[in-house]
Amino acid sequence: MLEVLAAATKLSLYAGVFAGAGVALAATSLGEQSRFVRARARQIMRIAASVAMLSSIAVLLVLIFRLGGDFSGPTLSAIVETPTGLAAALQLGGGAVLLAFARSTLLGGAIPAAAGLALLASFAVNGHAASFNLAASAAAFIHVSAAAWWLGAILLLLPASKAIEVGAFAQLIRKFSQQALAIVALLLIAGVALILTLVNFNRPDWFTPYAQVLALKVLIASSVLALAVFNKLWLTPGLANEDGRSLAALKRAMNAEVILIGGVLATTAILTTYTSPHA
């Protein structure tokens, strides 16, 4: 039961952090938005930051119960004095700043973006990768930041597809595609590096439960990537001709991407709760 709660609260935390940080990063990188899209971005950031903070507290409470549940000195110091406490501080601090400064446009939205990076850094200071070495932590940070940016950009493009005319939307999509080339490449490089670190392929029985769930995650992530390639090669060119059918198909494809990214996050919650790289 506690494991199910742990996985559920982690999924909620991942959703809050990725959506909030992702929208903050994408809003900064994609630049000037229409008033409607800006308002929607602030709304997503505020809701996501609140979800991230509440989930972070819930994750800590579940962890305390899994450690014995007595709020004793050893349990509390095990949390406060370790990377677990640092991760929670980054989640609560980053979430609070994102909530308070979601409206800020100072320095082109640098404050929400910095708060988003603090939220994402929480996954780089604690967990499987962080317990290896600094390089693995850095790879985890790059991986989660790029994935969050991707989700955030789609969450911004969806309202933009309704609010702005097709020509302007096509321009925004072009900008997104240009940035996505480099960011998705980083996402893949960091992801492959993490797999090579966390899965010991030298073992004859390397396909452990951890590797099996990881393979499922890679499969879902690959389908998001395949969908993104389809969007870029087949649907985006139609937008330039102000083709209404291409726009409708692109919206459906982006909604599917959001659902599939949700699947990736759910698989990650299962991976980090139920399995271990060396079990």
Binding site: P74, A78, T82, F132, A135, V192, H278
Partner: protein, 133 residues
């Protein structure tokens, strides 16, 4: 561009692969070993982990007695933890522990020690320590 990313990937993989693949801490051994049969309660019980962990809870379940919390030293992060004078009762004693692993995951396990007055001390093969996450 492709060559640049390929070099980056190889470099990242080499840097990361320099560390052996271990994430959760696991128990290396305990003294006495789990499954031991002893003539009297040992003076101390030691739990050795493969890497630093923090024990947050350790309780003794002994026959005919209510669950009892045991004091463990040190209270912070360590690879080795000791319980002094656990006062194990005659019969089957289970020492259940919970800890926070280096990677932030909760881990738990138990040590079974049977106290049988007059018995010749014996311990099973080392693999009998029970720990999981």
């Amino acid at each position: 561009m492709t060559r640049y990313f390929r070099s980056l990937l190889i470099g990242a993989a080499m840097a990361l692969a320099a560390t052996p693949a271990l994430a959760h801490s696991t128990v290396k051994n305990t003294v006495p070993a789990s499954g031991s049969i002893l003539p009297a309660s040992p003076g101390e019980i030691t739990i050795n982990f493969n890497e630093a962990a923090r024990i947050t809870s350790i309780i003794l379940i002994a026959p005919g007695q209510p669950e009892r919390k045991l004091d463990v030293m040190p209270s912070g992060s360590s690879t080795s933890f000791m319980v002094h004078d656990p006062k194990l009762a005659t019969g089957r004693n289970e020492i259940k522990w919970k800890a926070l692993s280096k990677d932030g995951h909760p881990i738990e396990g138990s040590i079974i020690i049977v106290i049988k007055p007059g018995a010749v001390p014996s311990s099973p093969p080392p693999a009998k320590n029970h720990d999981h996450h």
